[in-house]
Symmetry: none
Subunit: 249 residues, 2 copies
């Protein structure tokens, strides 16, 4: 599904941003990058900053005009910081993820378009988009780096992708995940531990009323103690007891 | 609430990442940055990449040791890519946002800790954290840039912050929740407890390797131990010690 999603960068000024954006995309499982007349094309700087995502940069499609980058897409989402006048098509990254994955699942081709570092997308470009994506940043300082914005959007795309695939998770896989989690102590095992603790610390003169045991019970209930952890706690009690008996003899 | 949250960067190699992380923080409304022995301190590169967030960089607190950066915090969240062994304390950025804002709202001091660019956090550092944050990245290429990871986490913090403020909880209700929540043990207090436990049970011959302490640390981190509970646990250790010394005399 993720390969139905295209990231489009318009007239980027710095090739480094292309590389960083490519890396951000790949970490979230996206790979299709289109560049509309970048000021600095793909160079060493772009490759260097892409780190392990050099393939995304090298496979990037460079075109001259906006239309050439989105012509074959059926859903266009434009990003911008200044979108006051576009309330009824405004979405945030989380919605963007859901809307995009819904469309991608149905085989639609989606383009998510990022504007120029300084001035963003033109009104003309924004008007060609069905949705307008804005990141709810700090109003006192909303200047996200271009690649950072790409990272956030791709992250929400991946979250939406994972939640959709999770819904289609086969039973076997679920059973496996259950198997992986450590076995919790049973109520009976915990009860033995509490009795053991009370016995020992009464004999040491530390526990004189129920208050202490009640607090300890609450603590360990809350902790959801695993069996191997309980074995350690029981072992510690026994270690102290051995010492007591040793001195009694 | 956001000012109860601290971002901690451990031994960063590149000062540029400090600047980019600071910019990422400020775009999401965070400002408290701690640096644990950075390889490159705050320099022109850091200031340049922080763009409009130079204040966050300049106000960053530089310390030598992990403990100095988190000692006064009661909720520690460590980030890492390799967390297979930590199932029951694992969280994703979205949960991290909710958990952190809940705690921050109740006046708790929260530290979110990011490890070294290449090797992340040590197991020892991870064991000092109650929760372990992992970003569900592309398994074939999960190498997020440090500042990108900070951006994603701060974004989810802001999302949680905005949804909470949107609910506009009445003042009385907030006061109550604050009153009701017992004070949690700080990282420093927990550390003393762990050291005390290790000392005593080594002398009893029960602890012979690190495995036991690691399991105990995980258990008590998970339990979110309250100060009054910690007093009991410390008291139990002392009760046993008194007995040891008594017999030594």
């Amino acid at each position: 599904m993720l390969d139905n999603i295209r990231i489009v960068l318009i007239e980027t000024s710095h090739s480094g941003n292309i590389g960083s954006a490519a890396r951000a995309m790949k970490t979230m499982g996206l790979s299709e990058l289109y560049l509309v007349s970048p000021k600095q094309g793909i160079d060493e700087q772009a490759i260097a900053l892409s780190a392990g995502a050099g393939d995304v940069v090298k496979n990037a499609v460079v075109v001259e005009r906006f239309e050439q980058a989105v012509g074959d897409c059926s859903l266009l989402i434009g990003t911008s910081a200044r979108l006051r006048h576009l309330q009824n098509s405004l979405i945030e990254p989380c919605q963007c993820g859901e809307i995009t994955m819904q469309a991608a699942k149905c085989g639609e081709k989606v383009a998510i378009i990022f504007g120029r570092e300084r001035v963003g997308l033109t009104n003309d470009e924004l008007l060609k988009c069905r949705y307008h994506l804005t990141i709810p940043a700090n109003p006192d300082y909303s200047s996200l780096n271009l690649a950072m914005a790409v990272q956030l959007v791709c992250y929400e795309l991946r979250m939406a992708f994972l939640s959709q695939t999770a819904q289609e998770m086969p039973v076997v896989a679920i059973e496996n995940t259950v198997k992986n989690t450590a076995l919790l102590a049973t109520a009976q095992q915990l009860e033995y531990f509490f009795e053991h603790t009370e016995r020992l610390y009464q004999s040491l003169g530390f526990i004189q009323n129920q208050g202490v045991m009640q607090k300890l019970r609450r603590l360990y209930q809350r902790a959801a103690v695993e069996q191997n952890e309980l074995n350690i706690l029981r072992g510690m009690l026994t270690a102290v007891e051995k010492h007591l008996y040793f001195h009694k003899e």
